[in-house]
Symmetry: C2
Subunit: 359 residues, 2 copies
């Protein structure tokens, strides 16, 4: 199984993604059409498709695709333990193994994408790939839309509940590497999520993190803006917003819930009576454009940062369009050397700390 | 100044609110019209208006109003220290003093409403009124709209950054008292805000809080539903959602930011070209109804819970409609004996704990 099955790379320009075709609520019925659409739009991409032999059958003769079979599937409800210790030939695990570099050899694939359950994915990825030197904990980073166009990258979104100031600094460094790779912004600005005018401005952890980030900014390791508040994420005050995984996860889920409620309210009002239905008919192109702008499928594809290999996580409920976007994000990250950029940022920071403590 | 200036109460049914007319971004230009509108709709209400003599001039002959002058104003930027130690004759402080019960006498007013800065308001209220026995820290509670209609009450929204499990239990008890008073739900359901499927499900604090809340539920002190996630707030899974003030504040600000961005997107799309403007014209009634449903002014009026007196906080940027809603919420809370209900819930819980530790 696994890595040995992949053929040698065609050339330097090719980006090869490995896809866990079984993950997510819909499995191959979503992932395979997404892969097909992705390949059409990315002529320099190659895919390694991982799944059961039966599931991969439709892709048997696809161009630029290598099939790797796995006998097991991690379900969305499987506990981390099961994914980690029981299902050792799962499509998720086999897919992650493709981005592992062994004995100094380049890995079989440049990045791995899965819509499988987050807990399992993070645990297996961490176990197989290990963290980058200087990173204590991997983080989950994703993008949210913002007022003036473009995206705000937020991390961590749920991998780490209790974070030290040092962890938050590491998130800032990794987030900067991600945004410079994927969005092409060389010195993306970083905000530390805090609370504003209210009684007590931030916990001790946040206060100390703020000092650390300020020092890293002064040392040109990151472009630190300062503290930001919840509404700054959608205002786009900074390119990156850093927070602990508990806060980040609540923020993300709350946003999903609110956007969904507002969408439903709009729908309800436009279908309330014959007159409003007529108005809806008139407004079809407007509502379509609005929907496209707030469509969470456009923002699909979270990066698991801090591992010695690129892993991207798609929303479990993703449809083909959403999954294709996750593939595109992984492709952009891999072709812009995200892994090297994370290494470089972390090394720079570590050597800076060394220099600082030497002096 | 202050309490002595207020006349004796007319009768038991009258609810008297005290209003800091100088607070907020707009001061009396917003608060006075709001008071007028409120009085028209609440024939059993009386108001104690607090402000500078000049600011209160227009209200000199209003019915059911008592004017109390204060020589100073706490600005929106004043640090807590200034509000607490320097401006001792501020409208905010004089207004809060009206709800303080001295020597067993009933207070001059049943509840106080201010749009002044949150930090100052909480600090002064805490200093003047003290906390209810059994409550370590006051909390800020507000409502958010939800899918099926009605509201979800969330606390704390920023008064307490680091919370112990015991604090979260106290928030659950106070939130239950608030919702039973204001919404009329006798046994409102309580959810503990947590993160879901992700790697680590909640911190140790949340896990222990979950146990405490479950025990309080078993003892019929609250109606505990279990853990909820960010999206449950807008789904309306529970009547009340409890969280620490850092998470609550980020959640609130994020929601405000997202709602504002979505509103702007909608506006931009409906004004993009002549055709979309025509569609907007057709859709005016629909868009009005939609706007009304997500209008944050409807949800204005946060309760400062756990103090020996009722204090309500209006958004600083509130217009007259929003401020009137804050007055209406304070009125509902006062007329439904919120203060007594908080006392009762807390005493029941304390005696339950006593009984439990006795046995």
């Amino acid at each position: 199984m696994a890595a040995s099955a992949s053929p040698p790379r065609h050339d330097e320009m090719t980006v090869r993604l490995c896809v866990d075709c079984m993950g997510g609520d819909h499995g191959p019925s979503v992932t395979l059409p997404a892969c097909q659409a992705f390949l059409q739009k990315h002529p320099q991409a190659e895919l390694v498709l991982v799944g059961t032999a039966q599931a991969l059958e439709p892709a048997r003769h696809w161009e630029r695709c290598t099939l790797v079979t796995a006998s097991e599937v991690v379900t969305m409800d499987d506990p981390v333990e099961v994914a980690l210790r029981k299902k050792r030939d799962s499509s998720m695990r086999v897919a992650i193994a493709q981005v592992k570099s062994e004995d100094g050899q380049p890995p079989a694939a440049d990045a791995c994408v899965s819509a499988g359950n987050t807990g399992a994915l993070m645990a297996v990825a961490r176990y197989l790939l290990k963290t980058v030197e200087g990173i204590d904990r991997p983080a989950i980073a994703a993008v949210l839309p913002r007022q003036g166009g473009g995206y705000t990258t937020v991390l961590d979104l749920g991998a780490n509940v209790d974070c030290t100031p040092e962890h938050l600094l590491q998130f800032a460094l990794m987030g900067s590497a991600l945004v410079s790779a994927v969005e092409g912004t060389e010195e993306p600005s970083v905000g530390l999520l805090n609370i504003g005018e209210e009684v007590i401005k931030g916990s001790d952890t946040i206060k100390r993190a703020s000092e650390l980030l300020r020092a890293a900014g002064a040392a040109h390791q990151i472009n630190f803006y300062g503290n930001v508040e919840g509404n700054d994420i959608f205002k786009g005050t900074t390119d990156i917003v850093v927070c602990d995984g508990f806060v980040g996860n609540v923020m993300l889920k709350t946003s999903e819930g609110l956007a969904s409620m507002m969408g439903n309210f709009l729908k309800e009002e436009f279908t309330r009576n014959p007159l409003s239905k007529l108005a809806a008919l008139m407004a079809v192109p407007v509502l379509k454009r609005f929907k496209a702008r707030v469509d969470h499928r456009r923002y699909n594809g979270a990066a698991l940062l801090g591992l010695r290999g690129l892993v991207f996580k798609s929303h479990g409920s993703a449809d083909a369009l959403a999954f294709e976007n996750a593939l595109a994000r992984a492709y952009d990250a891999a072709s812009n050397r995200l892994l090297d950029r994370v290494h470089e940022r972390i090394s720079l920071s570590l050597s800076g700390q060394g220099a600082a403590s030497d002096s």
